[in-house]
């Protein structure tokens, strides 16, 4: 089925000014931070770039799930998620740049770190080798980008020739991607985040991170879709029924995140092994305590209780607000995961806010370009008609 291409996204001058303003603020914060407090700057850079990689990767994962399950309801918002996934090459480079700041970030890279290490850390010592670390990071990022490129390409080609074969080939690419993602993201989260505190380990850490990635991607697609609806392109295409499903998805993902958050906490609390509990002691008995619980409230508890009700999931005001709260919660989540490795107490100042602003501006600019580069819905997708007339 072919529909008339929906109107293109037009950006007002003020929105453009805001986006460029955010980027300038971010760049200034990065430069000043790198000169004055490099460790703090690189930490914020790692948070911002890993956050952005997570949103792109989560969006790609949602697109892949869409293709594998052959869903029809989500066709109308697939381009939004494809655009979010399209930022992946750029944010991958940004994340890789964070590894330049490694001496400030990863304690284990300093000479002599392993000299007085426990013998139980023998495997970690072999695994956490700088060239190997970079090789693994490159392999993960390259694989994700390859799959992202292939899946987005199939979708764009279908716009031109309407061949249903693209839907089938995308389903195969997506199935392979989901398997690859499960393994590579596990490794990536161990390498990039968990090794910040090399004495500590938690076997559920990768699941916990993946839940965070997924919940931030769902929240970001809701915010972007609602913004596109207000701006025009998705107006009259997006219905209450689509929103209801997105609301359910946000509810499910944030409940899953809360479940894994608690699982990690409870297992470590229960086993009570000193090298494991040190992680939570650091976060619950110091200045980190308020943020530690604020994270749980913003990413898990708030969406859970708000979206229990049916009409809340169909309300644009509640969906966009709660999604923004969840996106804020995801930043706190990463800050509480990454920060205590270097800081006794949280310090949220110009560096933190500036780099977060820069990331929002940069990703926003990329998104606008990606969304303008393709029709806002896949105009020849075989399930588009069904999706536009979706009822539940």
């Amino acid at each position: 089925m072919i529909i008339a291409p929906p109107p293109q996204l037009e950006l007002s001058r003020s929105s453009r000014a805001i986006i460029y303003g955010l980027i300038v603020v971010g760049a200034l914060a990065a430069i000043v931070g790198a000169l004055l407090e490099p460790q703090r700057m690189w930490m914020c850079w790692l948070i911002a770039s890993y956050y952005a990689v997570g949103v792109a990767l989560g969006a790609l994962c949602l697109v892949a799930i869409h293709h594998v399950t052959g869903s029809s309801w989500s066709v109308v918002i697939r381009r939004v998620q494809e655009a979010l996934a399209g930022t992946l090459p750029f944010v991958s480079i940004a994340l890789f740049a964070a590894f330049i700041g490694r001496p400030h970030l990863y304690e284990w890279t300093s000479a002599g770190f392993w000299a007085d290490a426990d013998s139980t850390l023998a495997f970690k010592r072999a695994w956490l080798d700088w060239p190997l670390f970079l090789g693994r990071a490159m392999a993960c990022l390259a694989l994700w980008n390859l799959f992202g490129w292939a899946i987005r390409r199939g979708s764009r080609r279908q716009d031109h020739d309407g061949d249903q074969g693209w839907s089938r080939s995308n389903a195969r690419w997506s199935a392979a991607f989901l398997v690859v993602l499960g393994m590579t993201h596990t490794m990536a989260s161990f390498d990039w985040i968990m090794s910040l505190e090399p004495d500590w380990y938690s076997s559920i850490f990768a699941v916990y991170n993946f839940a965070g990635v997924l919940v931030s991607a769902v929240a970001a697609s809701i915010v972007t879709a609602l913004w596109l609806e207000r701006r025009g392109p998705l107006q009259s295409l997006l219905t209450d029924d689509h929103l209801h499903d997105l609301g359910k998805l946000l509810f499910a993902c944030s409940t899953f995140w809360m479940y894994v958050w608690f699982s990690q906490y409870m297992l470590i609390w229960y086993a009570n092994i000193p090298e494991e509990t040190a992680y939570f002691v650091r976060r619950t008995t110091s200045g980190w305590r308020p943020l530690f619980f604020l994270n749980l409230a913003a990413t898990g508890v708030a969406p859970f209780f708000v979206f229990l009700r049916r009409d809340a999931k169909r309300s644009r005001a509640l969906l966009s607000r709660v999604s923004l709260v969840v996106l804020g919660g995801r930043w706190i989540d990463l800050y509480v995961m990454i920060g205590p490795a270097h800081l006794e107490t949280p310090r949220i100042g110009l560096t933190e806010l500036g780099l977060a602003a820069g990331a929002i501006g940069g990703v926003g600019l990329l998104l606008v370009h990606l969304l303008r580069g393709a029709p806002v819905v896949p105009i020849r997708d075989p399930h588009l008609f069904e999706s536009l007339h979706y009822e539940q």
Binding site: F262, Y265, M266, W269, Y270, N272, L308, R309, R310, E391, Q392
Partner: protein
């Protein structure tokens, strides 16, 4: 004494939708609509109020969680205190998984039982169907006279519904007084 009802049977989903909308516009009171499967949007077309069952579910969940927390506190801290790995008697994090399960159990079973009680479903109860074919391939619209005037003019109803190709229009006496 039962109530006098008019039953109209249709063969197609579009017809029952149209007939329901027309009946509402004409101000007739719709007693019920029977369909062999879920027809999307029918609840809105009939003007049904949103179900209150989710609130019952929420209350049962709260009760389940509270009862379970009290019980586990009583068993582990009051009635038979056990030292497990040096943890305090009242170890809330350890109670959470079971509390969650019991909350879901109470909410699930409570909601289903409430539904059965409210809908009057019980073993051995006869099905009251306006037409036996509604369990197979037909759709039935059941109309009642408006509350004020007791008359329901069958000719008027027949004429109003004729463009929705009814298969059958019939008068019945309701078996359930007071519904």
């Amino acid at each position: 004494m039962g109530q006098r009802l008019i039953v109209a049977v249709f063969d197609h989903e579009e017809d029952i939708r149209g007939a329901v909308a027309a009946a509402r516009r004409a101000g007739l009171s719709i007693v019920d609509v029977h369909a062999p499967y879920l027809v999307h949007g029918l609840d809105r077309a009939m003007g049904l109020r949103p179900s209150r069952l989710p609130w019952i579910c929420f209350l049962f969940g709260l009760v389940g969680a509270a009862v379970k927390l009290l019980f586990e506190y009583w068993t582990t801290a009051v009635n038979w205190p056990l030292n497990v790995g040096g943890k305090p008697w009242n170890s809330l994090p350890a109670f959470v998984p079971v509390t969650f399960e019991v909350m879901v159990l109470f909410a699930g079973i409570g909601t289903v039982l409430t539904f059965f009680v409210v809908a009057g479903l019980r073993p051995g109860r006869d099905a009251s169907l306006p037409d036996p074919r509604v369990t197979d391939d037909s759709f039935a619209l059941v109309l009642a006279p408006a509350p004020k005037d007791d008359s329901i003019d069958r000719e008027v109803v027949e004429e109003m519904l004729s463009r929705f190709r009814p298969v059958l229009i019939d008068e019945q006496i309701s078996m359930e007084p007071g519904r």
